[in-house]
Symmetry: C2
Subunit: 149 residues, 2 copies
């Protein structure tokens, strides 16, 4: 079984799109993560949901986490208004520490599993000719490896 | 809004339970991850799905990933039979690099968000008196922060 057999269509977001759209897309579609594409369409980051969540945490809280306790009752509206007008590029954390969770259409199921485990990513982007053709998610890989699919 | 308001019941697995059970639980219930508990009931690891997936990757493939390409067609049955009889403790990766994704029932929504982002974890265990009382998952936190819930 290869990546092309396991891939499903997957929403992506452009680096110049609003950061709030990325968080909303993730929340509304209950995605495990999101693929960020450059203006030329090339996927440049695969962000697990826990890293998209970071977009919503005000910088002053990330700098001084004791504030997270004090301002726990801050309204959602205040949080999201701070994010309004900022692009994905502006709120992206630094360059990824590990490798990009990207595979080819002919990658094997074990190659995808090794990549997911190493990149700590619940999804892998399937890329052909620098274009995103779909995503393989963790449940698909687990099902395939356990012989459930 | 506090952890106790956002928590949902969450399946856990004992360190001495079969590793295959952890992978099956994750696959069947489509969980984002799993809480591993010590024999005395104390949660000791919060494993994102991508790390439970690691249980299913044979050690010789983790040691030499080029094998993942060659043996891509190895049957699921052969993979799971290699895992049979091994406990969670036996297949756990080394000690976690970061902090444990654990909070108290009175942790604030922003504290949980900071913890998820820092621990790269799609779930946080809510613990009281060294007992697991539930989990907060990423979609719940996103919904709450975006004012969708």
């Amino acid at each position: 079984m290869f990546a092309r057999d396991l891939a499903t269509p997957c929403p992506s977001i452009g680096v110049d799109d609003p950061a709030l759209d990325a968080a909303r897309l993730l929340a509304e579609q209950h995605l495990p993560g999101i693929v960020v594409c450059e203006p030329d369409g090339r996927p440049s980051r695969i962000l697990p949901g826990s890293q998209v969540l970071r977009f919503l945490i005000p910088p002053y809280v990330q700098d001084d986490e004791t504030l997270a306790r004090v301002i726990g009752d801050q309204s959602a509206e205040r949080l999201t208004s701070a994010l309004r007008g900022r692009s994905v590029r502006e709120v992206l954390p630094g360059p990824p520490a590990g490798e990009l969770a990207v595979c080819r259409p002919d990658s094997t199921i074990l190659e995808i599993a090794v990549l997911m485990a190493r990149a700590h990513s619940p999804l892998v982007a399937v890329v052909e000719d620098a274009r995103l053709v779909g995503c393989v998610t963790l449940p698909r890989v687990l099902d395939a490896l356990l012989g459930l699919s």
